[in-house]
């Protein structure tokens, strides 16, 4: 009975997803709160998850020709204000360093909320000729944006992310890069995080401050709200002009470069938790799980301890070259261990008890399907079977999320229908829209929904604006956003 307590304290996910979310983060030891409101501590288990994610994403950046670098944490206020829309967008969220050592500073320094101004300053120095282009640099770092309402991972004052900043010779090259990185993000989030996303362009009001166009991938979370999971910005020549980034072109003329920037942050960890978890806790996609296989030894009444240890070592060594495997030798009871590792979302559990030992097998349990009958698997061929099961878990999680999204994406053709969906099940709404910011603001006021994006793969509007009746400009994807 006691074995169940650990998981029992967790609220049902569908009954109280907010408390479920913060409780899972605490119980799985992913993160903790910090003394300063809005900040969090990413604990080792949460950080291992992030490390696995960053390794897979970083490999994609390198494969597309990008290099990592490190740019400073602090920038003078006079730099931030150079691009007018940029400073207007970020100023209300900036943390300011005004004193250092025992002295007040002459000019206050912003803790970077994003680094366009910093990269822009250096690019104007480094870029001289078309030979220096494209310049393709990424950095992994933390940024600070003072937030009023925060939630671990999904919205924190400080967060970890990567920010790519590139400069190109032509507009075409800049647009191509913007779309290439959007596709890298889609591929990463769908293939590794097992979360389906919609690729689209942001409306004017949701665009990055200073961008010509912002592209996004939007995920649907189980509470029917959307999460912007990564963005890729075509910055045109806005920052090139503000920071005087010019180059001598092939024809000898001096021209402004075209720049892009793109980022993905620890908020995607929040998406992983929300999308895949269940009433027993986390369910982690195998590709990013810190522990892919947990081995739980079970002492029988006629326990032969050395034989058990030998068997666990044998199984563990067979799997560890290829998978992230751990064995739990703590002195807790097996049921308690099951609950703990289920809470932590480990995709596969292998139990090894006296009967398994005699039959030279393990008992395999899949985290994504605890109702399924436990599977005996012979030691011979275990590695191939584990590989297949991990693939199967990865695929099943994606399919489940895809089905949820399909069931919760609605084509809506009237304002009344729109309201009904938003007051009821929420989710994604596809609707014809006039493209007007004032209309968008009214929709938000009345329903809480915003334009998440203008999806890249849908056709033009079929009829008038669902909301205001004026001519439809595009089919837009609406949802309440995180």
């Amino acid at each position: 009975m006691e074995d169940k307590e650990f998981a029992k304290e967790l609220p049902k996910k569908h009954e109280d997803i907010s408390r479920w979310y913060t409780d899972v983060i605490a119980k799985a030891e992913l993160a903790d709160y910090w003394l300063v409101r809005g900040f969090m501590v990413i604990r080792p288990y949460g950080y291992a998850l992030w490390e696995n994610m960053t390794a897979l994403l970083d490999a994609r950046f390198k494969a597309t020709g990008h290099k990592n670098a490190y740019f400073p944490l602090l920038l003078p206020e006079s730099l931030l204000v150079k691009e007018a829309q940029h400073v207007e967008g970020f100023a209300p969220q900036v943390a300011w360093v005004t004193e250092a050592g025992t002295e007040p500073l002459e000019e206050r320094l912003a803790v970077r909320p994003t680094s366009e101004a910093i990269f822009g300053t250096m690019y104007s120095k480094w870029i001289q000729s078309w030979r220096d282009l494209p310049m393709l640099i990424n950095q992994w770092c933390s940024v600070v944006r003072w937030e009023k309402r925060t939630l671990p991972f999904l919205r924190t004052t400080e967060f970890l992310w990567q920010e790519g900043h590139t400069a190109h010779r032509t507009e075409e090259d800049g647009v191509e890069e913007t779309m290439r990185m959007l596709e890298v993000y889609r591929d990463f989030v769908e293939a590794e995080l097992a979360i389906p996303v919609v690729k689209g362009r942001k409306s004017e009001s949701e665009k990055f401050p200073g961008a010509v166009d912002t592209y996004t991938i939007e995920a649907l979370l189980p509470d029917g709200r959307a999460l912007q999971s990564a963005t890729s910005h075509h910055l045109g020549q806005n920052f090139a002009r503000a920071f005087n980034i010019t180059f001598q072109d092939l024809d000898g003329e001096r021209r402004h470069v075209w720049t892009t920037s793109w980022g993905l942050s620890t908020r995607t960890v929040g998406a992983v938790i929300m999308v895949h978890g269940d009433d027993s806790g986390l369910i982690l996609p195998p590709r990013i799980a810190p522990v892919q296989v947990i081995i739980v030894p079970i002492h029988g009444k006629d326990a032969d301890e050395p034989a058990l240890r030998e068997a666990v070592d044998k199984v563990s060594s067979a799997l560890s070259p290829r998978f992230r495997v751990e064995a739990d030798w703590s002195d807790k009871r097996p049921g308690w261990k099951f609950n703990e590792w289920e809470m932590r979302g480990v995709p596969i559990r292998l139990e090894l008890g006296p009967r398994d030992l005699r039959a030279r097998q393990v008992t395999l349990v899949r985290r994504d399907d605890l109702e399924r009958k436990k599977q005996p698997v012979p030691w011979d061929g275990l590695e191939a079977r584990v590989a297949a099961e991990l693939e199967a878990v990865q695929g099943a999680l994606f399919q489940r999320a895809l089905q949820f999204r399909a069931a919760n994406t609605r084509r809506v053709t009237s304002g009344e229908e729109f309201r009904r969906v938003m007051e009821g099940p929420r989710g994604f709404i596809l609707a014809d829209w006039c493209g007007d910011a004032a209309c968008e603001a009214r929709i938000k006021d009345e329903t809480g929904a915003t334009v998440r994006c203008l999806p890249l793969d849908t056709e033009a509007a079929k009829g008038p604006c669902t909301w205001c009746g004026r001519p439809g400009q595009a089919q837009a994807l609406f949802a309440r956003a995180y």
Copy 2:
């Protein structure tokens, strides 16, 4: 003639090492200056070097049972002041956030100069029982310490580092961890960076603020000055008391934990540049070089471009699974390319010209010995030969540095001799010392030398203090420090 210009502009290392150092950093594109004094931008080539270093060090941390995590950038002033010596040591260097968004903060927040207070706060929450011990957590991050005199990598206001923070059940466990991590650093710096170091204990005046004992590894740079390359602190129960980190022990009693902390930073990149470089630029140890092998194709008069491309691809594919290889197809002349890649310190250059093509060979040049006759190496067996040459470069760099240190470490037995060495060649001085802080201060005033450490592997003092004549307490290692 023009080919030599690039390198010619570099001052001779032995004539003006300060300008040589900053020029190499600029020409090899390792780093650049930022608008805020004391900050730097780590450029892609410099960052790739750091990435290789961190991967090798991180693997050692994980092999010794440590896990990574991420702790917040900002801490309230009230936390920093909890450990009296700690705040006294760091307060003069702290950057303060006093405003966020449009509001002044109620309490100012320090940009972390180090994270003992942050880890301490969380450890007091996470540690309840002896079962939670040891707690072994590391983080990779940047820290800020306002510095008056700065130099790229060697002393910057913001720097990248890792900081390990551990908590233990007993004093013995804490001391053992302190020494284990010191040895990890020694092994890393000697094996990967090819820099010999002296392990030792810091004197009272050079100790980390709040530590019981600070241990260090000290390297000798070519200008005869010492560089503290990493430190490992036994913090006793000082931080446990200040942050109330207690646990229920095996016997049921509540006790304070014993903590340690240890760090290594981007200043070690400065050591790599200084120790190994020569008049042609950087020389990078193969284990950490971003590019280990550079292939330079040479078009002859009767150039058969497709055959040359094919040969370069063949050589490159043969080597790239095992080594970090690049081919330089830029339209610069070969001599210019040689100079550029020598400046960047690439350990091995393979030239491929018409004669090499005919003979199915490459011409191999080792960066650590440009005077040596160029070596023809047949394509068959190239991989094994390159592996052996890279090992040889790694070994040769370490031996050269070891010889330099041996030639510049002097056992000194009188104050006069001490002065003569410090006014002349400098380097390491081993001398009997009384252990008194006032005597240490006088030595510094009169010679510029400080106690770098009390080396772990030398015997007790043999005679009276070399400086003041009082009873000798220990043999100390003196040098002028960076």
